[in-house]
Every structure is written in C-alpha cells, then in structure tokens.
C-alpha cells in the first residue's frame, strides 16, 4: 500500500477547520477541469453557479426562501441524530405538516383573524410531531427500527397527501385539478419586504436554530441526548430514561419538519399542491451531517445547498448548461466535503513501500 490510514486518538481540531477548505479547493479544481473539458470557461461558469444567484438583494431573498424548509428539517434532525435516533422521515413529517395545516387553512377562508395563522402553523407542527410519534411508539413498544419505519411512513404520508389533494381538499372551483383553493391572507405567512417573496418563515428558522442550540449545548436534557448518542449503556447506568429520550428526539424533529411543511404552504406556495416538497426532507439529512449536527454548521450547509440549487437553475438559463452537469458538480462538492472529513479522524501516512519499519511499528502499537 502506498498510503495507509491511521486512526487519530483525538479529533484533529486543525482539520476540523481545514477539511471544508480543502474540500472547496478540490471541488473548484475538479469542477474547473470538468467545465473546461466541455468547452465552458471555468471562471465564468463558477460566477454563474455561485455568485450570480446571490449578487443582489432579490437573489439573497430567494436563497433564503429555498433554504428555509431545508434548515427547519435539518435542525430537527440534528437533535435526533445527536441521540443516534436515525429519523429518515423528515420528508413525510413535512408533508403531513403541510397537509394538516392546509386542511385547517381552507376551512378558515373567511376567518379574518390574527389567530388564523398561529392556529394553522401550530396544527402543522403538531401533525408533523404526531407522524414522528408513530415511529417513536413503534420503536419504544416493539423495538422496531426507526430507520425502516420512518422511511415507510414517508410513502404513506405522500399518498395521504395525494389522496386529500385529489379528493376532500380539492378546490371545488378548480375543474377538479389536484390543488386546494388559495388560502386567505390571514393564514399566510407575511412577507418581510415589498417586492420579494421572503416570508416570516425566516424568523422561525432563527428561532429554531437558537432553540436547538440551547437544547443541545446548554441544557441537561441535551446532555442526556448526547450521552445516549455516544453510549446508550452509559446513559442507562446513569439512570437516563432512554424511551423518554427517543420520544423527545422524534417529537422535536417531527415537529420542526411539520413546521417546514406548513411554512411552505402558508408561505411561498399559498395553497396545497401535490408537490409541496421536491425532497427537502431528504436534502436535510445531507445538510444535517454536512453541518456536523451543529446549528451554526447546519445553517452554513443549508445555505450552500440552496445556493447550488439556484446556481444550477441559473446555469441552465444563462449558459444552457444541462442540469445533469450542475448536479454532477453538486455531487462532487458533497463527495469532497465528506471525503475530507476523513482527515479529522484519521492520519494519512506514506505506506510500506518506503517505510516498512514504521508500518510494523504502528501495527504493533497499542490502540
């Protein structure tokens, strides 16, 4: 072997900071080669992909709109994943949140009250939490693996949404096309500025980020969650009630995913449609890990993810770059980010061809 990997005794703090930079550099380098090979000026392409979408206030506002549902889901997932509860069901919890919120909103079309919006939002949050509670119940009562149950509940949620949007919640004046009536203004999230779509969901993200940070880093409950994640036996010996923590982690992540869903339908969409989410709940899994399950990291990762979506659209529009090419670029970036994380836990050494003695030494060294 030319290169060997050697586990580090401790996470490298230096690489904790350096690895994302290295990843960015490698992505840009490989991206440049890719674009150049296909006859596009690499610098101009990067400009179109990464700068142009956010070079004015409108662009930034659109970036935030795209990031809001991803961030809400990812912040909730961070709580669950810290406890090593693998909730893969944010997508389904989001859809149920959107569905329940919409069901209330279209019954409040004539209720012009300041209470309409809070009621709709709360319904969405509770419905998302309830959907995740199914997985929590299955896990705590039957020890059913939550990875499987949450994935399966995603499909059930999607088909429930399709049933309602094609049936009971369909706009009676909509020629039986599958969408609800537009919500009344009283149940819409207000926009923050004139002329742009950025809505109050932005504040909900900030609130959620602070709440998750306080919970995980500053509360005894968060400490229990993290201990459970690191060593469930130790958590048991310390008298932490595992079942309660499983419920808590799933209810919080489900509630935030439900909030993401209801903020989409009451925010930019304004009605219930079959395509509430183009996979935000799945994108959030990537974002949660890219952000190292840390609220600040998640915000950075979520904005990056949103930028890649917007840049991909922009490149199609202005450079006629095929979508598959920009998706390839996005994939490359995620690959390098995760690959470079290896350096945090492992040391790369030149291997046996050059220094056989060293290798022997490390093999016999105590772990």
């Amino acid at each position: 072997m030319l290169l060997t990997l050697e586990p580090r005794l401790q996470q490298s703090r230096r690489h904790l900071l350096l690895s994302p930079l290295l990843a960015a550099l490698l992505t840009l380098l490989c991206g440049a080669l890719l674009f150049a090979a296909l006859g596009h000026d690499p610098l101009a392409t990067f400009h179109t992909l990464l700068i142009e979408p956010v070079q004015d206030f409108y662009g930034v506002s659109e970036l935030l709109i795209k990031a809001i549902p991803i961030l809400l889901c990812a912040l909730g997932l961070a709580v669950a994943y810290q406890a090593r509860i693998w909730n893969i069901g944010a997508e389904g919890q989001l859809l149920i949140g959107a569905l329940a919120g919409s069901a209330l909103a279209i019954n409040l079309l004539d209720w012009d009250s300041v209470l309409a919006l809070p009621a709709v939002i709360l319904t969405g949050v509770l419905a998302g939490a309830l959907w995740a509670a199914l997985a929590a119940w299955l896990r705590t009562h039957f020890n059913a693996n939550e990875i499987l149950t949450t994935i399966m509940l995603n499909y059930i949620a999607l088909n429930l949404l399709l049933y309602f949007v094609h049936g009971p919640l369909k706009d009676p004046e909509g020629f039986s096309f599958p969408q609800s009536a537009m919500f009344a203004d009283a149940s819409r999230l207000p926009t923050l500025f004139d002329d742009v779509r950025l809505h109050a969901g932005f504040y909900l993200v900030l609130l959620a980020a602070v709440a998750v940070w306080v919970l995980l880093s500053r509360s005894f409950l968060g400490f229990q969650v993290r201990v459970l994640g690191l060593d469930s036996r130790a958590a048991g010996l310390m008298g932490f009630r595992e079942k309660r923590l499983v419920w808590l982690a799933l209810l919080i992540s489900g509630g935030l995913a439900g909030l993401a869903g209801v903020s989409e339908v009451t925010g930019p969409i304004g009605q219930l449609v079959p395509q509430v989410s183009p996979g935000y709940g799945y994108a959030a899994i990537t974002v949660a890990f890219l952000g190292r399950l840390n609220p600040l990291g998640i915000i950075v990762a979520g904005l990056l993810m949103a930028l890649l979506y917007l840049g991909g659209e922009n490149a199609q529009m202005t450079l006629n770059l095929p979508q598959s090419l920009t998706e390839l670029f996005q994939g490359m970036m995620l690959f390098f980010l995760l690959a470079c994380d290896l350096l945090i836990l492992y040391r790369v050494r030149l291997g046996s061809w050059f220094r056989p003695a060293t290798r022997k030494h490390t093999e016999h060294a105590p772990a």
Binding site: G167, S176, E264, V273, V276, Y309, P322
Partner: protein
Amino acid sequence: MSIPSLKRLVLGVAAAIGLTATLGAHAADPLKVGFVYIGPIGDHGWTYQHEQGRQALIKQFGDKVQTSFVENVAEGADAERVIRNMAKGGYDLVFTTSFGYMNPTAKVAKQFPKATFEHATGYKQDKNLGTYLSTSYEGRYVGGFLAAKMTKSKKIGYIASFPIPEVIRDINAIQLALDKYNPGTEIKVVWVNSWFDPGKEADAANALIDQGVDVVFQHTDSPAPIQTAERRGVYAIGYASDMAHFGPKAVLTSIVNNWGPHYIRSTQAVIDGNWKSQDYWGGLAEGTIELPISPLVPAEVKTEAEQIIAGIKDGSFHPFAGPILDQKGDVRIAAGSVASNAELAGMNYYVKGISAQLPQ
C-alpha cells in the same frame, strides 16, 4: 473642404454611426424565449416533445430568437422563482409547460406586464397570459378505433396518471370508439398517480396484461409500458412522443404532441406585435397532434383510421358528438350537439360503458 461641408461630413458620419448602432442593436436583439419544463428533456415523452418544439422554433427563426430552458422544475415554491428569473432576465416570451405552474405563472405575469406568458393545460388567462393545450382526445379516439379492430380479448387497458378532466376525457373518447367499432369491449383503468414513474408504469402494464388486456394505452410519459407490452407480446398505443422504436412489434400508433407549430405561431405574433391572449386548443387539424400509424395495422384498418382522422380534421366528425350518456344513463351531451370546450374542460364523469368507478 470648407468648414460647413466638414461639419456636414462629421454630422453625416455621426448619423451613419448612430444608424448602424441602432440597426446593429436591432439585429443583435433577438426575441428571448424561455421554456420551463416539468421533467428531464430526455424523458422521451411530454418534456421531450416540448423540447422538440423549442428546436423547431430555433430552426424556424435562427438568430431572430434566443431560447433557453430550465428542466425538472418542481411545481411547488421553485416554479415561481424560475419563471420570475426568466422575466427578470429580459425574456419576452415564456412558455410554462405543466399544469402545476398555473398560479406561479399568473402571479409573475401580473408583475411583468411587458413580458408575454403562455401556460400549457391551465385555465387562467390574463392580458399577457394565454393558455394552450393539445386535444389528445382526438388521438385517443382514433387509438380506440385501432384497439377495437385489433383486440382479441375485448379488453383494453389504460395506465392513467391523475383523475383530472384531460385524462377522464381521453378515457371516455376511447370507450366511445370501442362502443362504436367493437361493442362489448371493456376498458380497464389503473391509476399510477404520477406522470413519470417507469417502475410504477411497468407494474401497471403487467397488472393489466395479467387481467387479459391485449391493447395498452398510457397517459404517462415514460416508454416503460411500451417496453412491457413488447415483452409480453400485446399491442400498445404510445403517448406524447412517437414511441414506436421502444416496441416495434407492439406500438400501433402514438399520440404525438407536436408543439412546434404553436410555438412558431406565438413567437411570430410576439415579434409582429399582434399577440393576443387566448385559450388555444390544437389538435389533428392544427398539426398539434400527429398519429404515425404502424405497418402492424392492416391496410384496410389503416384506411378507415385515416378516414376518421380526415373527418376530425375537416370538422365533419367530433368524438364527443351527442347523445353522450354518463354511467348513470343521464344525458350529458344532447343528441345533435357536440361538447363545447367548456364541457370538455370540466369533464368529471365516465361515459356509459365503463364499469369502473372514478377515484373518490
């Protein structure tokens, strides 16, 4: 050279430069036409055909137009951004090619009154927002005729996407043709709740064929049902694009959406400054629907099909000519009249002869 003549020369040159500049600006200022697609351009179905229409536009106008597209645009919150970015980017004419883009398109059209928008398959119009669709039921009727002539089991299958009027109308058109040309033939419908899902579409085709169906229709966009029909040795009718090459021994005809003529007409109207908002329905007569009939179809059947097509084209025949009864036997289209566009656009009932119930 006297001073006045020098001055005149300078002015002349300046004017000439100015003129070339404006001419140049005019010539270098093509009409910008944008397309928003629901699927990938390689789906071999709905989006692929819109992309063919865009290519036809480029072929027709050359440098006079500058086009671009964004593919795989989700119908939720993303659509409005893409449509607005096109309007902001100076696009003069934007085609949004899926039903779910209706409300976002209507909203952006209000904010950009100088740009022109056309939305496929919707029902909301505005001063600068028109709608267009293809009357695929004409093709389905002819397909229903071919199925009636070719079936042995007297069972026809339909892979349906969503129970919206467009799909219900097409199912009804087939049943009307079956009643006329092979009474007692039954249409079986499977709903896949998707426009493009090769896995589900193939499963649906297999399920239908297992029930004895020997001609498979699809109202979905992937070639999977055709490939399944080819493998299982039954006939199929393609949709959206010409799918014959996916099942040379299966495909009797395909209901091909040919959007090029409409895109060219609309673009020309915008260039000429006489574009008007309308609800455009294009079918066989307008060239928006084409039906390439396969050599699998016997010559005399083909001749009869061509007679039906000619009748639809010249208006002497309409698939929805009354009397048309619904499943309960109530008269929906009276004898002696044909369905109006409004009646067709809101069709939410099965015609008599279909035994299945509409979902919900």
